[in-house]
């Protein structure tokens, strides 16, 4: 309930929830999701190169060594393959800025970004 109260309301928030559900199709985050991709917990304190036991990282992401912040995630989520060339499996990105920002608000709240 506390989390819900902290999240933005409106259509963008609903789309963010949908996008978040999309993330959880592969990633584990908060108390749910799958383990096909690295967990999202602690994302804002990590770099793209940080080792995550049990996962084979994308070489391109590994060598990019990007520090995940709201700014870098925003740019990454806009067009992941343009942000880091050579990535294999990944989302196609979220073009709508409002939806992306709502998802980032949600990620910050749920993953402790601030």
């Amino acid at each position: 309930m506390v989390i819900a109260a902290a999240l933005p309301a409106g259509p963008a928030a609903a789309e963010a929830e949908t996008a978040w559900a999309g993330c959880l199709a592969c990633h584990r985050g908060e108390a749910g999701g799958n383990a096909a991709a690295p967990p999202l917990d602690g994302l804002f304190r990590r770099r793209s190169s940080d080792p995550l036991p049990g996962f084979v990282r994308s070489r391109a992401l590994h060598r990019a060594n990007v520090s995940w912040t709201r700014h870098t995630l925003d740019r990454f989520l806009t067009a992941p393959r343009a942000y880091v060339h050579g990535m294999g499996r990944c989302t196609l990105g979220i073009k709508e800025a409002a939806e992306r920002h709502a998802l980032l608000d949600l990620l910050e709240t749920r993953l402790g970004g601030r």
Binding site: N65, R75, R81, Y83, G86
Partner: protein
Amino acid sequence: MIARSVLRVPRSWAAAALLALAMMAASLPLLFALSWLSLQVPEDLVRQRVQAAFANGTLRDDLYLPLDRTRGVHQFNDCLILTMVLLRDEDPLHSAISPLYMRGTPPRQASVCPKLRELANGADRLDYEESYYHRYLNAYRVATAALLPALSVEGIRTLLKGGSYALLAAVLAVAVARRNWPLAGIATALALFYGVEYFGMSPSHAFADWVVYGLLLYAGFRNLMDLTPVRFTAVVVAYASLCIWFEFLTGAVPMGLAVLTGVLGLHAAARDDWVHGTHRLLLGGGLFLATVGSALLLKQAIAAQVFGSYVWDMFNSRVAAHTGTEKDTPAMVWATLTTQMGHIGLGDAGVGHAAILAGLGVLGLSYMWIMLATRRPTLRLGATAVLLSAGVVAGWYLALPSHSIRHAIFMVRLCAWPIAAGLAMAGLAVAHQCRHMAR
């Protein structure tokens, strides 16, 4: 006749502008081509050289060796450059543009020299974190790779340090032969106080130093005021290109700009056309900054095209980190500089302090003497340019305070230029006085 002369000037400057653009555009492709060629040096040979260097003590696990005259102070960057030579991307184009380097991975979170040693001794690359070094042009990697087939790491260090002293000796010899006392003062000050003894053997410093000494040598033979616009442009753009090629945030660019400004000032003072001198000073400084800035930004743009737009975020975050201030910055700058002053003070921090204070004193007093003793515009212009050249160093410290603090161990070298400028200014004052008395 008048119409022809009016037409002639713009045409030569148009040619100079076109040449500058062409040289700036060609600089990076040329470097990338050389970088690609340097990848032909076999990895096994590099590995053997590194193994031998660690075995005979040329390289050690310690990252900094203060006041070490044999290995140099700054082993960290030497190991980093050798790592860049050793590690190859699967795609040669990637390696030619931005080399790989290693970061530590738990539990083996060793720093750069131990990691290089482990890698040369056959450690698995998968045990390490690898990243691209996008933010510089990394020409020191190319030059070091080119030397490795012929020389050991120890041999490279000997060559670099010997070459540094040989170039400075040549500058001094030319200056004395031509009774160019300001230039003789610069060569002497750099030989004594630029820390050649402690940094002259390092690939991360020496190649850039050679570029600076090369300009001083050229300036001993030719007055830059007398060059045609095209040749002047070619010299300045080539010099600036080499400065940014070898810049590892070790001071090649600020030192390069300071030396160019000082040399142009001295050359302006030796001629009688102050308008021409002012023009050349502004043009030289502008061309230098434009060349350096365009090369750095173009490198990021090319890397972003090849590797992804994250390159810009990495670049911006580093700029923010280096230009940011930290708590108690002035005190920290002073404290860190103080501890490293021995590197430009013949091994003694007290000598370093005294040399800087004396240099600044001589610079200020000689400047005042010139301004009071003469009304010759070109001499005043030249003296002001030499004074401003010392200001480049202060400007660099103010522009990048965070970097200056963290890397004071080698950034202290820049403080040698005000000493050199002081001797150059004294040389200008003495030369003026001698000429005055001869009349």
